[in-house]
């Protein structure tokens, strides 16, 4: 018996052979690490699909649909040097509030978490460091939980008496996260990160791939710096040069991201940067290839 991810790549190959070949090429040499690491998440995803009366073919169609969107966005991005939308309200109406779009987009991202090696590296970095920065007892918040992978990682690693809260602006994302995580310890709230109260306090927050969806990332990061106080920590990831249907804030390089952290009063504890193709930073910059950026942060002393 092979791994689920192998079946997924094989099935992608039946619908889009070039794309599957590219995935295999990018994953070459990493299979021994990524394939076993992806298995339990994909088992949970399969179980969720089954409960919904769907099969992995649905997930694969969503994924390929998302890849088509990415190509269109990339075409426009290379032409103009900008993301197509700059308005949060516009994206909220067109994407987060549109169940059909949000559903295929999030199911597409589910597969991307392990089919794309830089996404795997992002998760691995999270799992390797979370414990180091979490107190022996505490409250954990995830913002924009999406597909549920990161909450599952936290549930696996953190003490059992931890309070686990997940907020997301989209009901389809919450449904997906709830279904995949399938754990009654997690509290889900439909909420815009902007509406988190200044009275709320957490020991740790995780906010993966949300910053680029915001008009004013500094304002939100200031809020999160306040949320964790002097002793808490956070995990933030956001991509560079990564046009998508719901991205509005463009980071051109890691310096842009570090500057935003600094202006929000956050300092970096440790960070990880991975180019999404196996190429040099010089070429990545020339062709504006997406780059994964992740960091653990705390309030500036």
């Amino acid at each position: 018996m092979g791994f689920i991810i192998e079946e997924i790549i094989e099935k992608i190959g039946l619908k889009n052979p070039e794309h599957a070949a590219k995935l295999s090429k990018n994953l070459a040499g990493l299979e021994a690490e990524i394939y076993p690491a992806s298995e339990s998440f994909f088992q949970k995803y399969y179980a969720y699909l089954e409960k919904e009366g769907k099969t992995i073919d649905f997930g694969i169609d969503c994924y390929l649909h998302m890849c088509d969107d990415m190509l269109i966005q990339r075409h426009k991005f290379i032409e103009t040097g900008k993301y197509t939308s700059t308005s949060f309200d516009e994206v909220e109406k067109r994407v987060y509030g549109n169940e059909a779009i949000m559903t295929y987009h999030m199911h597409g991202l589910v597969l991307g978490q392990f089919l794309w090696f830089e996404q795997f590296e992002r998760f691995k970095f999270f799992k390797e460091n979370l414990i180091k920065y979490f107190p022996s007892q505490g409250k954990y918040l995830e913002i924009g939980g999406g597909h549920g992978l990161y909450m599952l990682g936290a549930l696996e690693l953190l003490p059992t008496d931890t309070v686990f809260d997940l907020v997301d602006i989209s009901q389809s994302s919450i449904n997906l996260a709830k279904g995949v995580i399938d754990n009654s310890k997690v509290n889900y709230t439909l909420k815009n990160v902007f509406d988190i109260s200044d009275e709320d306090k957490y020991d740790f927050f995780t906010m993966g791939e949300v910053l680029e969806h915001l008009e004013d990332p500094i304002a939100i990061l200031k809020k999160l710096a306040n949320l964790i106080g002097k002793t808490g920590k956070g995990y933030i990831t956001t991509p560079i040069n990564s046009p998508m249907i719901d991205h509005i804030y463009l980071f051109n390089n890691e310096t842009d991201i570090r500057e935003v952290f600094d202006k929000a009063g956050l300092s970096i504890l440790t960070e990880k940067i991975v180019i999404s193709e196996h190429i040099s930073p010089k070429l990545a910059n020339k062709f504006k290839v997406p780059i994964m950026y992740a960091a653990f942060v705390e309030q500036k002393k």
Binding site: D68, L71, I72, H75, I78, E79, E277, K288, V289
Partner: protein
């Protein structure tokens, strides 16, 4: 503009964008045969061609050109 003329201008764009004076293209050339012409550089090359000829490809066209010839034909059609 004739196909051969379009092709020679396309070659010049490829050389410039991929920073490689050695590149030779025929109407039959495919991405596989040209060094550094892969999915990363592809959209870049296509946008450079759009800008040079002042035309627009659709995203579907960009992802489905099978060889240089198909792309040159499309440029020719757009130039009218």
């Amino acid at each position: 503009m004739e196909e051969q003329e379009i092709l020679s201008q396309v070659v010049a764009i490829f050389k410039e964008e991929l920073d490689n004076e050695e590149i030779e293209l025929t109407m039959e050339s495919t991405a596989k045969e040209v060094e550094d012409w892969d999915s990363l550089s592809h959209i870049h090359l296509m946008v450079a061609i759009e800008k040079h000829f002042k035309i627009r490809f659709t995203s579907t066209e960009i992802s489905s050109f099978k060889n240089v010839g198909e792309m040159v034909e499309t440029v020719k059609k757009r130039l009218g």
